[in-house]
């Protein structure tokens, strides 16, 4: 099956006027399978937007091969299959959402009653149906972001590329958007989005791709990452020593030991050993690890 996105050895360089150049992306390779939701993460200046721009054809890569469902990225044929939400975009201030979407729809090859119905449905879906005939300039940042989301969904694209998708949305809007994006995935769409909101990534993604200074740092499925980050903590009283299977272990002056384990099996082995030695288990905790800590730690290691 053709990957939805295939990036092979991508390089993007910006040239300043005084002969200086900035390598925004270097040797980046990854792929996204159809139907996946993939988060594209990295600190500011990591090269996320440059990669997305290269995929859309907004910047010319100086190296590498990029494909969208087998078509060369940046061509009208590849863009026909993409719904794109830019990181920061204004929508013509003197047009209404209906007029804005009509123009984008016609550029997409849609027209007539079909287009009008799709626009009405989309504006209702993103929650601004009531403001469809207001001028864009009179709208809040959040409402404009909803216009942006609606335009990205025009023509029911197979692939959604979303740059900072929840920017400007309030918590209610974010929740609605998550529901909407998951529904799109259930309909078979592929989602590839960049975000600084790790909570969004956690709730939405099947997989994440982490880049730093224009290079790939890590590529992980969320399920394995969550398993890895999950912490199992055991508090007990007794003389049993579980340091050989614990990740970390501390015994206080009161004789109470707190040990943490990398996985459930190790913890179960420890409980068995404690009971055999006549110890008392006081508390068992299984908690999700922090994605933020993972992100900061991984970036610091890469730096």
């Amino acid at each position: 099956m053709q990957p939805a996105i295939s990036v092979n050895n991508l390089g993007v360089t910006y040239r300043a006027k005084k002969g200086e150049s900035l390598n925004a992306v270097r040797g980046l390779s990854f792929s996204v399978a159809p139907g996946e939701i993939v988060g594209f993460l990295g600190p500011n200046g990591a090269g996320k937007s440059s990669t997305l721009k290269a995929l859309m054809g907004f910047v010319e890569p100086d190296a590498g091969e990029l494909q969208i469902f087998g078509d060369q990225a940046g061509t009208p044929e590849s863009r026909m299959q993409i719904g794109y939400l830019p990181e920061v975009a204004m929508y013509y201030p003197f047009l209404t959402p209906v007029e804005t979407l009509t123009m984008y729809g016609e550029l997409q090859g849609l027209f007539g009653k079909t287009l009008r119905k799709e626009i009405d449905d989309l504006l209702d879906l993103v929650g601004i149906g009531h403001a469809k005939n207001k001028l864009n300039r009179s709208m809040s940042k959040g409402m404009l972001q909803r216009v942006g989301i609606a335009q990205s969904l025009l023509g029911n694209p197979r692939l959604l590329i979303l740059d900072e998708v929840t920017s400007g949305l309030d918590p209610v809007g974010r929740k609605e958007l998550r529901t909407l994006l998951k529904a799109k995935r259930d309909e078979g769409a592929t989602l590839f989005f960049s975000s600084h909101e790790l909570a969004e990534v956690d709730m939405l993604c099947d997989r994440l791709i982490l880049i730093h200074k224009g290079q790939l740092i890590e590529e992980r499925t969320m399920s394995t990452l969550k398993d890895e980050l999950r912490e199992y903590r055991l508090t007990y009283r007794g003389s049993a020593n579980v340091s050989d299977i614990a990740r970390d272990m501390n015994t206080g002056a009161d004789g109470i030991t707190i040990a943490s384990f990398a996985n459930a099996e190790s913890m179960l082995g420890a409980t068995e050993r404690i009971r055999t030695k006549g110890g008392t288990i006081l508390d068992i905790v299984s908690q999700e690890g922090s994605l933020e800590e993972y992100f900061v730690h991984t970036i610091q290691e890469a730096a």
Partner: protein
Amino acid sequence: MNPRIYTALARTVVLESLRRKDLWVVAILGFIIILTAGTLGFFGFDGLEIFAKDLAVTVLGLFSTILAILTSSRLLPDEIKNRTLYPLLARPITRGQLLAGKLLGAVLVSWIAFLILAVLTAAALLVFKVKFEPIMLQYLFGKMMGLVVICALSMTLSAYMTPSAGATMSFVFAFGSSMISRALVMGYDSAPEAIRPVFQLISVLLPQVSLFDMGGRVVNINWGPVQAWVMWSLFGYMLLYSSATIALGWVKFRKQAV
């Protein structure tokens, strides 16, 4: 080649211009012209047909050219500055189609402004009992073709330089066209034989906007209309020069990082 792409882009330019009140400014200016002419007529300054026509063609040429340059020279830079370009370029269209659609929009805006002014000016001329003559229609067509060249030139210059520099250059070429042509002819006449092709080349490269301005013939009562081949030649020049100019703009814009 889907015509809907061009009409969708052009409609946006016209709608934005209408709602930004650009065209209303033109209508207000036209109203002032009528008022002035009406006042002159009321106080008995009739019989000043040449003066009235001279004023009319000057005002028409001036305001329509200013609007054409201001509209077309800010289209691309504004799209980039306001980041409205991203959702546009994300559509399955080429950058060439985008340029052509925007150019069509700029031309339509300048034509609408010109025709509003022309109708109001015609009403003003009625005060002076100026009769309609075929040369006036030729003047309108000529001027409209000239506006296409000006729009294409302004858009292309805005792709190569800052919006203000592009607009300034466009004003120089639009309003200084006849002066530049005269200077080139004088230079050609006085230059040594070996240098003359340089003057010819510059003459070909620079826009001959003054060719489209038949205001002089409109003002002078005894000058009749021009022959059809002149109009067709102007049409051919407009097509050729505008296409070449916008193609130059495309060369810069097609790979430009945004």
